[in-house]
Symmetry: C3
Subunit: 129 residues, 3 copies
C-alpha cells in the first residue's frame, strides 16, 4: 500500500503546484481576488487547477479502492500515468486550450480504470465470490 500512498501524496502536491501557478498568474496579469476572470491566460491557469481538483477528487477513492480490492502495484502505476497525463494537460492547456484533449485523456482514463476496477472488486466481494 505504501506505493499507492506515495502516489496519492504526489497527486495532491501536483495540485498544490497548479494552485501556486494560479497565485503567480494573479500577480502577473493583475487579477485581484476575488475576481477569477479578466485575462485569458490567467483563466487558463485557473481552469487547469479547477479541472485538476475535479479529477483529483475522483482519483483518490479510485486509488484507494482499486488498491484494496485488486492490486496496489497496478493502482500505483495507473496513478503515475495520471500524474504524467496531468502535466501534459496543464502544459498544453496553458499554451492552447483547444489542444488539451491528449493530456486530458491520459489523466482521465487511469481514473476510470481505477474506479471501474475498484467497483468490480467491491461487487465481487459483496456478492461473495
Amino acid at each position: 500500500m505504501a506505493y499507492v500512498d506515495i502516489v496519492t501524496i504526489l497527486a495532491v502536491l501536483q495540485f498544490i503546484v497548479f494552485a501556486m501557478k494560479v497565485a503567480g498568474a494573479r500577480g502577473r496579469y493583475g487579477i485581484k481576488a476575488p475576481a477569477t476572470t479578466g485575462n485569458e491566460i490567467f483563466e487558463r491557469y485557473f481552469r487547469v487547477q479547477q479541472n485538476t481538483m475535479e479529477l483529483l477528487l475522483c482519483l483518490l477513492p479510485g486509488l484507494y479502492l482499486f488498491s484494496r480490492y485488486l492490486n496496489p502495484m497496478w493502482a500505483a502505476l495507473l496513478g503515475v500515468v495520471y500524474l504524467a497525463g496531468r502535466e501534459i494537460y496543464a502544459a498544453s492547456y496553458v499554451k492552447n486550450p483547444a489542444k488539451r484533449s491528449v493530456g486530458f485523456a491520459l489523466s482521465m482514463l487511469p481514473v476510470l480504470f481505477l474506479l471501474i476496477g475498484g467497483f468490480v472488486g467491491a461487487v465481487r466481494q459483496a456478492s461473495g465470490f
Copy 2:
C-alpha cells in the same frame, strides 16, 4: 464495507457523468474553454457539477467514518438516498434553478446524517465509552 465502497464509486461516477454533461453543453452552446459563463443553460450544467463536487467531498469521508464507527449498511443506504437526491437536483436545476431545493435537501441531509453519525461514533470512541 463492500456496499459502502460500491456506493462511494457510484457517487464518483455520477459526478463524472455530470462533468461529461458540462463538456457536452460546452459544444452545444458554443462556450469555448477557459470560459465558464456566457450562456444561462451552460451555466446551469456547470453549477450542477460544481455543487456536486462540493457535496461529494463531504459525502466520501461521511460514508467512510459512519460506516467504520456506526453501521456500514446504514451508511450505504444513506448513500443511495444521496445518489437519488443528486439526480433530482441535477434534473430540476437544469430546468429551473429556482426549483432546485428538494433535490438539494435530499442529497444534503444524508451527507449531514453521515457526518454527524460519524462524529458521534468517533467522539464515543475517543472518550472510551
Copy 3:
C-alpha cells in the same frame, strides 16, 4: 485515530458552514443561481468557500496518511491549527481580500506538514526502513 477522525469531520462541517454563508449571501446581495458574480461581497464569500474546498481536498489525505505513518495525535493537532487558520482566513477575506495571507498561511502550512510527513512515512515504509 479517533481524534483525527473528529478533526476530519469538523473540517468538513466548517466547509459546509462556509457554503451556507454563500447561500445566505446569495439572498442578501440578490445573486440568483447559476450566477456566481455580480457583487463584490458575494464573490468574497464564494471564493472563501471555493478556496476552502481546494484545501480540504488536500487536508483529508494528509490527515489520514500522517496519522497512519507517523502520529495520530500530531495529525489531529495540525488539523486544529488548520481549523483556526481557516476561520481567520474566512473572516479576513470577507473584510478585505488583500489581508487574507495570514489566515491562508496558517491553514496551508499544516496541510503541507501533514502531506510531507505522510510522504516521508510512506517512503520510509516502501524502502523497508
